[in-house]
Protein backbone atom coordinates (compact mmCIF):
# COMPACT_ATOMS: atom_id res chain seq x y z
CA UNK A 1 0.00 0.00 0.00
CA UNK A 2 1.13 3.52 -0.70
CA UNK A 3 2.22 5.56 2.30
CA UNK A 4 4.28 8.54 3.33
CA UNK A 5 6.25 8.82 6.55
CA UNK A 6 7.50 12.02 8.07
CA UNK A 7 9.44 10.86 11.12
CA UNK A 8 9.86 14.29 12.72
CA UNK A 9 6.70 15.68 14.28
CA UNK A 10 8.28 18.92 15.44
CA UNK A 11 11.58 20.61 14.58
CA UNK A 12 13.05 23.76 16.08
CA UNK A 13 15.84 25.72 14.41
CA UNK A 14 17.44 29.11 14.83
CA UNK A 15 16.97 31.74 12.18
CA UNK A 16 19.79 31.49 9.66
CA UNK A 17 20.47 27.83 10.35
CA UNK A 18 20.11 25.16 7.70
CA UNK A 19 17.08 22.89 7.58
CA UNK A 20 16.33 19.37 6.45
CA UNK A 21 12.89 17.80 6.77
CA UNK A 22 12.71 14.07 6.20
CA UNK A 23 10.21 12.19 4.07
CA UNK A 24 10.07 8.51 3.17
CA UNK A 25 7.52 6.99 0.85
CA UNK A 26 6.23 3.60 -0.14
CA UNK A 27 4.93 3.28 -3.68
CA UNK A 28 5.20 0.51 -6.23
CA UNK A 29 5.77 2.57 -9.34
CA UNK A 30 7.83 5.65 -10.10
CA UNK A 31 6.38 8.19 -7.72
CA UNK A 32 5.19 11.72 -8.15
CA UNK A 33 6.40 13.49 -5.00
CA UNK A 34 5.40 16.81 -3.50
CA UNK A 35 6.10 19.12 -0.60
CA UNK A 36 3.38 21.46 0.64
CA UNK A 37 3.52 24.14 3.31
CA UNK A 38 0.68 25.31 5.54
CA UNK A 39 0.99 28.59 7.39
CA UNK A 40 -1.25 29.09 10.44
CA UNK A 41 -4.89 29.52 9.44
CA UNK A 42 -4.17 28.88 5.78
CA UNK A 43 -4.70 26.16 3.24
CA UNK A 44 -1.75 24.26 1.78
CA UNK A 45 0.58 25.74 -0.79
CA UNK A 46 2.79 23.75 -3.13
CA UNK A 47 6.52 24.25 -2.49
CA UNK A 48 7.91 21.89 -5.12
CA UNK A 49 7.31 18.64 -6.95
CA UNK A 50 9.25 15.80 -8.55
CA UNK A 51 7.95 13.88 -11.55
CA UNK A 52 11.05 12.67 -13.35
CA UNK A 53 14.48 13.76 -14.53
CA UNK A 54 16.87 15.69 -12.32
CA UNK A 55 16.61 14.30 -8.81
CA UNK A 56 17.33 17.67 -7.20
CA UNK A 57 14.34 19.95 -7.59
CA UNK A 58 14.09 23.61 -6.78
CA UNK A 59 10.97 25.16 -5.35
CA UNK A 60 9.63 28.45 -4.13
CA UNK A 61 10.92 30.40 -1.14
CA UNK A 62 14.44 29.01 -1.53
CA UNK A 63 13.52 25.37 -0.80
CA UNK A 64 14.90 22.35 -2.61
CA UNK A 65 14.37 18.61 -2.32
CA UNK A 66 16.30 15.58 -3.45
CA UNK A 67 14.73 12.35 -4.67
CA UNK A 68 16.72 9.27 -3.69
CA UNK A 69 15.15 6.15 -5.13
CA UNK A 70 17.50 3.79 -3.30
CA UNK A 71 16.39 5.24 0.03
CA UNK A 72 12.76 5.91 -0.93
CA UNK A 73 13.27 9.41 0.34
CA UNK A 74 12.40 12.93 -0.73
CA UNK A 75 13.92 15.23 1.89
CA UNK A 76 13.27 18.96 1.89
CA UNK A 77 16.16 21.37 2.51
CA UNK A 78 16.84 25.04 2.91
CA UNK A 79 20.31 26.48 3.49
CA UNK A 80 19.23 29.39 5.69
CA UNK A 81 15.88 29.49 7.45
CA UNK A 82 13.89 32.71 7.88
CA UNK A 83 11.43 33.39 10.70
CA UNK A 84 8.62 33.43 8.11
CA UNK A 85 9.33 29.76 7.32
CA UNK A 86 7.66 28.73 10.58
CA UNK A 87 4.77 26.55 9.42
CA UNK A 88 3.71 22.96 8.98
CA UNK A 89 5.22 21.00 6.12
CA UNK A 90 3.63 18.05 4.40
CA UNK A 91 5.20 15.54 2.07
CA UNK A 92 2.89 13.74 -0.37
CA UNK A 93 3.03 11.01 -3.00
CA UNK A 94 0.80 10.90 -6.05
CA UNK A 95 -1.06 7.60 -6.21
CA UNK A 96 -3.24 7.42 -9.29
CA UNK A 97 -5.92 10.09 -9.07
CA UNK A 98 -5.16 11.08 -5.50
CA UNK A 99 -2.43 12.38 -3.25
CA UNK A 100 -1.43 10.62 -0.05
CA UNK A 101 -0.04 12.92 2.60
CA UNK A 102 2.32 12.36 5.49
CA UNK A 103 1.40 13.43 9.00
CA UNK A 104 3.36 16.66 8.74
CA UNK A 105 6.33 18.31 10.43
CA UNK A 106 5.82 21.49 12.40
CA UNK A 107 8.75 23.88 12.06
CA UNK A 108 9.45 26.42 14.75
CA UNK A 109 12.05 29.15 14.14
CA UNK A 110 13.79 30.98 16.95
CA UNK A 111 15.34 34.43 16.42
Amino acid sequence: AQSVTQPDIHITVSEGASLELRCNYSYGATPYLFWYVQSPGQGLQLLLKYFSGDTLVQGIKGFEAEFKRSQSSFNLRKPSVHWSDAAEYFCAVGAGDKLIFGTGTRLQVFP
Partner: protein, 111 residues
Protein backbone atom coordinates in the same frame (compact mmCIF):
# COMPACT_ATOMS: atom_id res chain seq x y z
CA UNK B 1 -4.44 32.52 -9.96
CA UNK B 2 -6.65 29.57 -9.16
CA UNK B 3 -9.16 30.20 -6.44
CA UNK B 4 -10.72 27.50 -4.29
CA UNK B 5 -13.35 28.94 -2.00
CA UNK B 6 -14.83 27.19 1.00
CA UNK B 7 -18.07 28.77 2.11
CA UNK B 8 -17.39 28.88 5.85
CA UNK B 9 -14.20 29.40 7.82
CA UNK B 10 -15.72 28.30 11.12
CA UNK B 11 -18.84 26.25 11.73
CA UNK B 12 -20.45 25.03 14.94
CA UNK B 13 -23.12 22.34 14.73
CA UNK B 14 -24.96 20.05 17.11
CA UNK B 15 -24.78 16.27 17.20
CA UNK B 16 -27.24 14.74 14.76
CA UNK B 17 -27.52 17.77 12.51
CA UNK B 18 -27.08 17.45 8.76
CA UNK B 19 -24.11 19.55 7.70
CA UNK B 20 -23.16 20.83 4.26
CA UNK B 21 -19.65 22.04 3.47
CA UNK B 22 -19.41 23.82 0.15
CA UNK B 23 -16.39 24.24 -2.09
CA UNK B 24 -16.16 26.16 -5.36
CA UNK B 25 -13.23 26.39 -7.79
CA UNK B 26 -12.91 28.82 -10.65
CA UNK B 27 -10.50 27.02 -13.00
CA UNK B 28 -12.64 24.38 -14.67
CA UNK B 29 -10.69 21.58 -12.98
CA UNK B 30 -12.13 18.11 -13.34
CA UNK B 31 -10.73 16.60 -10.14
CA UNK B 32 -11.78 17.81 -6.72
CA UNK B 33 -11.05 16.44 -3.26
CA UNK B 34 -12.19 16.62 0.34
CA UNK B 35 -9.64 16.01 3.10
CA UNK B 36 -9.90 16.25 6.84
CA UNK B 37 -6.92 17.39 8.86
CA UNK B 38 -6.35 16.35 12.46
CA UNK B 39 -3.30 16.96 14.65
CA UNK B 40 -0.81 14.13 14.37
CA UNK B 41 -2.76 12.45 11.56
CA UNK B 42 -2.02 14.80 8.68
CA UNK B 43 -4.49 15.00 5.81
CA UNK B 44 -6.77 12.07 5.18
CA UNK B 45 -8.79 11.76 2.00
CA UNK B 46 -12.56 11.49 2.50
CA UNK B 47 -13.89 11.57 -1.05
CA UNK B 48 -12.84 12.77 -4.44
CA UNK B 49 -14.54 13.42 -7.74
CA UNK B 50 -13.10 13.27 -11.24
CA UNK B 51 -16.13 14.61 -13.08
CA UNK B 52 -19.65 15.89 -12.61
CA UNK B 53 -21.78 13.32 -10.80
CA UNK B 54 -18.75 11.03 -10.44
CA UNK B 55 -17.30 10.28 -7.02
CA UNK B 56 -14.86 7.91 -5.43
CA UNK B 57 -14.38 6.97 -1.80
CA UNK B 58 -11.14 7.96 -0.21
CA UNK B 59 -9.57 6.45 2.87
CA UNK B 60 -12.16 7.53 5.46
CA UNK B 61 -15.58 7.91 3.77
CA UNK B 62 -17.70 6.57 6.65
CA UNK B 63 -20.22 9.11 7.89
CA UNK B 64 -19.80 11.33 4.85
CA UNK B 65 -21.26 11.72 1.39
CA UNK B 66 -20.57 14.13 -1.45
CA UNK B 67 -22.35 15.85 -4.27
CA UNK B 68 -21.00 17.19 -7.56
CA UNK B 69 -23.86 18.54 -9.64
CA UNK B 70 -21.75 21.19 -11.37
CA UNK B 71 -18.11 21.05 -12.33
CA UNK B 72 -17.10 24.00 -10.18
CA UNK B 73 -18.83 22.90 -6.98
CA UNK B 74 -18.06 19.95 -4.73
CA UNK B 75 -20.06 19.56 -1.54
CA UNK B 76 -19.29 17.43 1.49
CA UNK B 77 -22.27 16.23 3.50
CA UNK B 78 -22.32 14.96 7.04
CA UNK B 79 -25.65 13.14 7.20
CA UNK B 80 -25.79 13.10 11.00
CA UNK B 81 -22.91 14.98 12.57
CA UNK B 82 -21.07 13.36 15.45
CA UNK B 83 -18.47 14.74 17.84
CA UNK B 84 -15.71 12.66 16.24
CA UNK B 85 -16.26 14.64 13.04
CA UNK B 86 -14.97 17.78 14.71
CA UNK B 87 -12.04 18.63 12.48
CA UNK B 88 -10.53 20.94 9.89
CA UNK B 89 -11.93 20.18 6.44
CA UNK B 90 -9.91 21.09 3.37
CA UNK B 91 -11.15 21.15 -0.19
CA UNK B 92 -8.79 21.00 -3.15
CA UNK B 93 -8.93 20.92 -6.92
CA UNK B 94 -6.28 19.43 -9.17
CA UNK B 95 -4.75 21.38 -11.98
CA UNK B 96 -1.99 20.71 -14.46
CA UNK B 97 0.96 18.50 -13.49
CA UNK B 98 -0.94 17.00 -10.58
CA UNK B 99 -0.79 20.26 -8.62
CA UNK B 100 -3.44 20.61 -5.91
CA UNK B 101 -4.95 23.98 -5.10
CA UNK B 102 -6.40 24.18 -1.61
CA UNK B 103 -9.07 26.27 -0.01
CA UNK B 104 -8.45 27.93 3.34
CA UNK B 105 -10.33 25.24 5.21
CA UNK B 106 -13.45 24.97 7.36
CA UNK B 107 -12.97 24.35 11.07
CA UNK B 108 -16.03 22.35 12.08
CA UNK B 109 -16.97 21.86 15.72
CA UNK B 110 -19.71 19.38 16.55
CA UNK B 111 -21.10 19.80 20.06
Amino acid sequence: DVKVTQSSRYLVKRTGEKVFLECVQDMDHENMFWYRQDPGLGLRLIYFSYDVKMKEKGDIPEGYSVSREKKERFSLILESASTNQTSMYLCASKGQYEKLFFGSGTQLSVL
